[in-house]
């Protein structure tokens, strides 16, 4: 297939998704797709991702399409450069298909905080697709694109992947360059991948990973090489952390996880219970550290150099206040205020210093579990299936707790992924694998075995 044919096919699917009101895209155009097609058709050699259309979360900068971060403050903004991940995808023959809807500046778990309206869940429009990378997840789930880029700060790819029934892979912090990913929580942010198959996720991750002189936190690690999926898990030890199976876990989610663990045991894996005793501190620690970093990172949006400027008659300070006050939405403003609060004089030790300690202990829990002989951890990705739109918007903390199982690996900087393991009352359930640092290949190999052994569309038996 030529790039032109692939571009025409994805153009039809994007148009159909927009007509259906999915609201998953923020920008795409036939002209931009045609230009991408001509470019890949002119490559001297076919790349590893030749003709692959990739949807890109709208907090990853692209020169060909606008980048808004789902915010009014960047409405119409066009980056003067591409993110490193975009350059690498394009060099490998992939086509940038569209920019996808998200919670404003990636702050949210449902896309309901997007300034451009929420994304519909592809299987039930009354429900949310998860967030913040909900647009990317929905487009992959709806079959519009085979793969998409998202970003994770505290689970923003695994959680929507779970809700939408697709694969979502967060690499080790530092595996993939953050150059051109609009900064939210710089010690946590990771460009991450959605796909319909484990093989596609591995291929895309392999292309975008690697050191980058423009991101000093990238790791000089060996490439990710995923072993050919076998059918046996003999010799593999799976740890099941008891803290991730609380008494109030959704019965359908629990049943799907139990069935997946049984299947892993049948395939030869040893299943052992482990404890990660500081898990309950992860969400509170995250909601100190991430807002603190966000308060600093978002200081750059001030109406002076780019983006939208509020009309003011006053001085420079008034320009800043008015632009930021009107340009940022409610959740972003809350997080900036919380971040400013926990960093302010008198509160730093009570909040920020404690959160740093909690983060260290959470990472220590994971290290101890892996040192005990566990190869990978298996947990539910989310406590429930996709929740209804509006269900959590009145209570920010209830929304934050949707990320209770995905936050800890983010704080520890570990690779983790969600894969669909069944359905409960018709909605996808995600199982989460968490791996030691830089063990993406081991994680993806096990996921590939599970992919062949589980039916993700089967209703779970309670």
């Amino acid at each position: 297939m030529s790039g032109r044919l692939a571009a025409a096919a994805v153009q039809n699917r994007l148009a159909e998704a927009d007509r259906a009101g999915l609201n998953a895209t923020l920008a795409w155009s036939a002209a931009a797709l045609a230009a991408e097609a001509d470019r890949v058709d002119a490559l001297p050699e076919p790349g590893l991702l030749q003709n692959l259309p990739v949807a890109v979360k709208d907090n990853i900068v692209t020169t060909g399409l606008p980048t808004t971060c789902g915010s009014r403050i960047l409405e119409g903004y066009r980056s003067p450069f591409n993110a490193t991940v975009i350059d690498r995808l394009r060099a490998a023959g992939a086509m940038i298909a569209c920019k996808t809807n998200l919670d404003e500046f990636a702050m949210g778990s449902s896309t309901e905080h997007s300034a451009f309206g929420r994304v519909l869940h592809p299987m039930d429009p009354t429900r949310v697709p998860g967030g913040s990378s909900g647009g990317s997840a929905a487009l992959v789930a709806a079959g519009v694109v085979p793969v998409a880029l998202g970003s994770e700060t505290g689970g923003s790819v695994r959680q929507p992947a779970s809700f939408c029934g697709v694969i979502g892979v967060k690499p080790t912090y530092g595996r993939v360059s953050r150059y051109g990913l609009v900064a939210f929580g710089s010690s946590l942010d990771c460009v991450s991948v959605f796909a319909r198959t484990v093989a596609d996720a591995g291929r895309v991750l392999g292309v975008i990973a690697g050191p980058d002189s423009r991101d000093a936190t990238t790791l000089a690690a060996s490439p990710i090489v995923v072993a050919h999926a076998g059918v046996s898990l003999a010799g593999t030890t799976i740890g099941v952390p008891r803290e991730y199976f609380p008494g109030d876990l959704d019965p359908g989610v629990r049943a799907a996880c139990d069935a997946a663990l049984l299947r892993m045991r049948e395939l030869g894996a040893a299943i052992v219970e482990v404890s990660l005793p500081h898990s309950s501190l992860a969400v509170p620690a995250y909601y100190i550290l991430a807002p603190a970093e966000a308060a600093a990172n978002l200081a750059r949006f001030d109406g002076a150099r780019y983006g939208v400027r509020a009309p003011v008659a006053g001085d420079l300070r008034e320009l800043y206040r008015a632009t930021r006050g009107s340009g940022f939405g409610p959740e972003v403003r809350r997080r900036i205020l919380v971040g400013t609060y926990v960093l302010s004089a008198g509160y730093y030790d009570a909040y920020y210093a404690r959160a740093q300690t909690a983060r260290r202990r959470i990472a220590g829990d994971f290290a101890a579990a892996f040192a005990s002989g566990v190869d990978l951890l298996f947990t539910p990705t989310t406590p429930t299936t996709a929740f209804r739109a509006g269900e959590k918007t009145g209570d920010p903390v209830a929304m934050y707790l949707a990320d209770v199982f995905v936050c800890p690996a983010s704080l520890a900087g570990l690779p983790a992924m969600s894969l669909p393991i069944g359905r409960s009352e018709g909605l996808p359930v995600g199982g989460q694998l968490i791996a030691p640092s830089l063990a993406e290949a081991k994680m993806l190999s096990l996921a590939a075995v599970l992919e062949g052994a589980l039916d993700p569309t089967a209703e779970v038996r309670r």
């Binding site: 003067p80 530092g174 050191p211 150099r305 780019y306 206040r321 400013t340 909690a358």
Partner: protein
Amino acid sequence: MSVSREEVERMAALAQLAVAPDELPELTAQMDRIVGFVARLRALDDLSGEGPQPTGPPETLLRDDVVTPADLARSPAELAPEFIDGFFVVPKLGAMEEP
């Protein structure tokens, strides 16, 4: 734990964020809810002997300190709300009052 309206106003001033007076009651209640939730970390009494969790590589990758072309697809003049003769134009800074 309770966050006061005055504290929210002070944080908004520090963060250079305009907040309308009629938004303050709800914003104060939400801030109070969030700060009350994260205060669960007070259960961590022993903070001794532990620094922050290291992130990123053990050694920072440094690139050569040389000037290279930025190769921008569009110029600052195209991005800026107002740009004249190579300068970003902003209103004058008023008196250096405390925020």
